[in-house]
């Protein structure tokens, strides 16, 4: 961080949440964390050069309470990054099929509550995260990454 600032540059930390692109075995091993996403829709199997594709695991749908916890976790992560680690800001990773993108797009979000269905409902999670992060560190320290047209997850 110091080296970046000494050379008169800035550095933002990218905030990720994986949702259905996570690995349930690792989540379990690292602390019994649930494998969760907007809806219980797995990633489509990856095409394989040899043999059949392994079936990706099916996530559990987040409860509304858990969605609120995620929003607060983003805010805390932003605060840690800026106030404690010394980053100049944070970028919310809302692209490439990770959790925020999963809420935005109908392919991964078939919820029937306030977080699914209409454009406004599917945008709700991303906007709540953005609002909480802005409140934590200030608008001028927050960017967001979006990929309207990407069909892929595994590159960044």
């Amino acid at each position: 961080m110091d080296a970046v600032h000494q050379n008169k540059s800035s550095i933002f930390l990218q905030l990720w949440a994986l949702g259905r692109t996570g690995n349930p075995d690792i989540l379990q091993k690292e602390g019994g964390y649930p494998f969760v996403a907007p809806s219980p829709i797995p990633i489509p199997p990856a095409p394989q050069q040899n043999g059949p594709a392994p079936q990706p695991p099916v996530p559990r749908a987040l409860t509304v309470e858990e969605i609120g916890e995620y929003v607060q976790l983003y805010a805390r992560a932003a605060e840690n990054a800026v106030r404690q680690a010394g980053f100049d800001g944070v970028e919310i990773h809302g692209a490439y099929g990770y959790l925020p993108d999963q809420f935005l797009q109908t392919n991964a979000n078939q919820r029937t509550d306030a977080y699914g269905g209409s454009v406004q409902n599917r945008a709700r999670f991303v906007l709540e995260v953005t609002g909480a992060v802005v409140k934590a560190v200030g608008a001028e320290r927050v960017g967001i990454r979006l990929s309207p047209w990407s069909t892929y997850q595994g590159e960044y």
Binding site: Y96, Q105, T106, A123, A139, V142, I144, R145, P148, S150
Partner: protein, 103 residues
Amino acid sequence: MLIMYVAGMGMSDPIPTFAEVVTRIRDDHPGFAYIHVLEPSINHRPKDGTGQKESNKVLRDIWGDQPYIANTDFGRDSAIETVEREGGLISFAHHFISNVSEK
């Protein structure tokens, strides 16, 4: 190592949803640092020509003069050309990632 899953994203018309996100951020958070948007990829564009309509122009127009960072597939010339035509900024990543498993 990057694991290449097809993530099953890419809904048929993403613009209304992403336009809502960009509009609300513009209206609710003055001074927001930037939006960093993946442009429709030339490499991933469908061969049947359906991808020709893909454009982020609507998002650029909503965002106006605030910082807009475009990303994907840019080289020196295409980056300069895009900024001269559209304004904003360009980000580069692929050339700086070691052991990238695609491209």
